[in-house]
């Protein structure tokens, strides 16, 4: 049984301009130890999916359909208390370090120990701090920095601390939301290696959310491309990169230069960000698609299976 199975998840936000359909009918699954990358531009809904998995959606959000089956249980049906127990112990999150993810008035070591103590009532404070020490070693922070405050850490160190915090309760699934976006390239590399490292060692499942397709390719086994709240292409990283099927995926790839392959340059039509309150009928990408025809803006596309490990949502590739 898959560790995580998301079925037809739809989430929206109530705003002053109307109901914003942020995620529409997204389905994917994740096995133990597998890593999935969710890629898309800002506003495509990938962060919302992450938040839904954690049960951290804001008050004006509403899940309009679907299930999130984690270890067989639908997370959407759980009570607040039950979700709190799942959080961090089973599913943890790595935030962006640029975000103020660490509380400025508490010491870093204490904040991580807090997570451990919250989920294990029998453990003592000293034991918890010892665990923090070993976590620091795993992520590569000198243990004598445990007593420091967040503002004394560099960006890379903060990110490592956040990773350590995520690992603290030995979760089965970690959601990493743009963990390297705010860092410079060298530190980015280090962090990515650290993530790959712990993922292998601890056999943790990983969902890596990013707008940077190159980074995802480096770390993940599978990849899902999102646009305007929908999953438009999904499959094995190698398959998708060798032969991107969906026009959006192709344009994403085209924006990166590679050394070994010629990628055909596709012209895409300039367009605005998609309207999520009143989505256009038909395919969500049709307005910007270079190969769209008249039917594309009228009919919703269906999934086309290119191989058992690769599918795309496009009616032009039957």
């Amino acid at each position: 049984m898959a560790l995580l199975a998301v079925e037809n998840l739809s989430v929206g936000y109530h705003t002053r301009k109307g109901f914003l359909k942020s995620v529409q009918a997204v389905s994917f699954s994740l096995a133990e130890g597998e890593s999935l990358g969710l890629v898309g531009e800002s506003g495509c809904g990938k962060t919302t999916i992450g938040m839904s998995l954690m049960g951290l959606l804001p008050e004006n959000a509403a899940v309009t359909g679907g299930k999130i089956l984690f270890e067989g249980i639908d997370l959407l049906q759980l009570s607040k208390k039950e979700i709190r127990q799942v959080r961090w112990k089973k599913i943890a999150m790595i935030f962006q370090a640029a975000m103020n993810a660490l509380n400025p008035v508490h010491r870093v070591g204490e904040q991580i120990a807090e997570a451990i103590l919250a989920h294990d009532t029998e453990i003592s404070e000293e034991t918890a701090m010892k665990q923090v020490e070993s976590l620091f070693q795993v992520v590569g922070i000198p243990p004598d920095r445990m007593k420091d405050y967040p503002h004394q850490y560099s960006g890379g160190m903060k990110q490592r601390a956040i990773i350590a915090m995520a690992l603290s309760c030995n979760p089965s699934l970690i959601i990493a939301d743009e963990p390297t976006t705010a860092l410079d390239v060298i530190v980015q590399d280090q962090i990515l290696n650290a993530i790959k490292d712990f993922q292998n060692k601890l056999n943790v499942s990983l969902i890596f959310i990013s707008h940077d397709i190159a980074v995802v390719a480096d770390v993940c086994d599978s990849i899902g491309i999102m646009f305007a709240g929908r999953l438009v292409e999904y499959g094995n990283v190698k398959d998708v990169f060798d032969a991107p099927m969906h026009p959006y995926t192709q344009s994403l790839m085209a924006s990166y230069l590679t050394l070994d392959k010629d990628i055909a340059q596709l012209d895409s039509k300039p367009g605005e960000t998609p309207d999520l309150v009143n989505p256009t009928p038909g395919c969500c990408f049709s307005e910007r698609c270079a190969v769209a025809d008249a039917a594309c803006s009228l009919n919703t596309p269906e999934w086309v299976e290119i191989s058992p490990t690769h599918k795309a949502l496009c009616s032009r590739f039957k």
Partner: protein, 314 residues
């Protein structure tokens, strides 16, 4: 900003004032303001007080005994309770309390608004100069502001009045203004600092505008809404300070303010016996302060940059 045809909802009304951005913004602001209950209560109260102030001119015209300072009722020469002749009663020498109350409203508005206006003017100019000029000028001005802000205004005015003798109402207004500008200047300075880096200021410099012109023509319009907001809070403190001064006996003896009325109640020992005299002035001071405060808070919602997009006039 091109709008998707399908999203042009009916929320965006037809804007008849397209050519007058200021009026358009005022209209928008009013729409937001109207929704705020606190603002509405505040505004209603203010209108009532304004009416009181206006009405204060009438009673003496009806009968000279209703004059707040000099009006003496031939029949009454001590404090009496409410009656048909005197709706709120009379004070210790037989003057009508209601008329004093109305006159007090007039004084309160006058003092409050002039002192606030002056302190805002000072604070805005100084804040803009400090923010724009930077370095030494900035440090100097802000240090000055710090020093003034540390001192309790009331007590400073007290000691000054000991040196200069009895103060008249306009001196009091001036003194209040002189000691209340620092708060405003800090905020204005911060705003100026952030505006200074905007491209349109660069553009103005490049086209050769003098510093003076830049400050007054470009920065000031963007800083003005904040100034006006703070004016409402300054009015409240001005009213309170004047009232406190009058209460302590250092007000202008030729003006009847609510604080003065309270002083008379206190000093003549009528505190326990004359609730009709004790209560009205205090209620008025508090309510007027409250209404200005409510106005200010409602305006904050209208003007808060977090809620509205900042549109700089370029």
């Amino acid at each position: 900003m091109t709008a998707n045809p399908s999203t042009q909802t009916s929320n965006i009304r037809e804007r008849p004032y397209k050519r007058f951005p200021t009026i358009e913004r005022l209209a928008e602001g009013w729409a937001v303001y109207k929704e705020n209950l606190i603002g509405k209560i505040g505004l209603t109260l203010l209108v009532i007080f304004a009416l009181m102030a206006v009405c204060s001119f009438f009673p003496p015209l009806i009968d000279p005994m209703y004059h707040p300072m000099t009006g003496v009722d031939p029949l009454i020469s001590h404090s009496t309770g409410p009656s048909w002749r005197h709706w709120l009663g009379t004070d210790f020498i037989g003057r009508d309390i209601l008329c004093q109350l109305l006159a007090g409203a007039r004084i309160a508005f006058m003092v409050g608004i002039s002192a606030a206006f002056m302190s805002i003017f000072l604070g805005t100019v100084i804040g803009m100069i400090a923010g724009y000029a930077g370095k030494i000028m900035d440090t100097l001005l802000m240090r000055l502001a710090d020093m003034i802000m540390v001192m309790p205004t009331l007590l400073v005015v007290l000691i000054l009045s000991s040196l200069f003798g009895q103060l008249n109402i306009w001196t009091i207004v001036l003194l209040i203004a002189l000691f209340r500008w620092p708060g405003v200047s800090r905020v204005i300075r911060a705003q100026t600092l952030s505006l200074k880096e905007r491209p349109f200021i660069e553009a103005a410099k490049v086209t050769g505008a003098s510093h003076f012109r830049i400050i007054f023509r470009h920065i000031m319009p963007n800083v003005l809404p904040l100034s006006l907001l703070y004016m409402t809070f300054r009015v409240t403190s001005a009213i309170i300070i004047e009232a406190a001064l009058a209460f302590l006996g250092f007000g202008d003896p030729s003006t009847v303010s609510w604080g003065m009325m309270l002083q008379w109640v206190w000093k003549t020992g009528h505190m326990f016996q004359a609730p009709y005299w004790l209560l009205p002035p205090g209620i008025c001071i508090s309510l007027l302060t409250l209404s200005f405060y409510m106005l200010g808070r409602a305006m904050e919602e209208v003007l808060d940059p977090r809620l509205r997009k900042e549109v700089a006039q370029e």
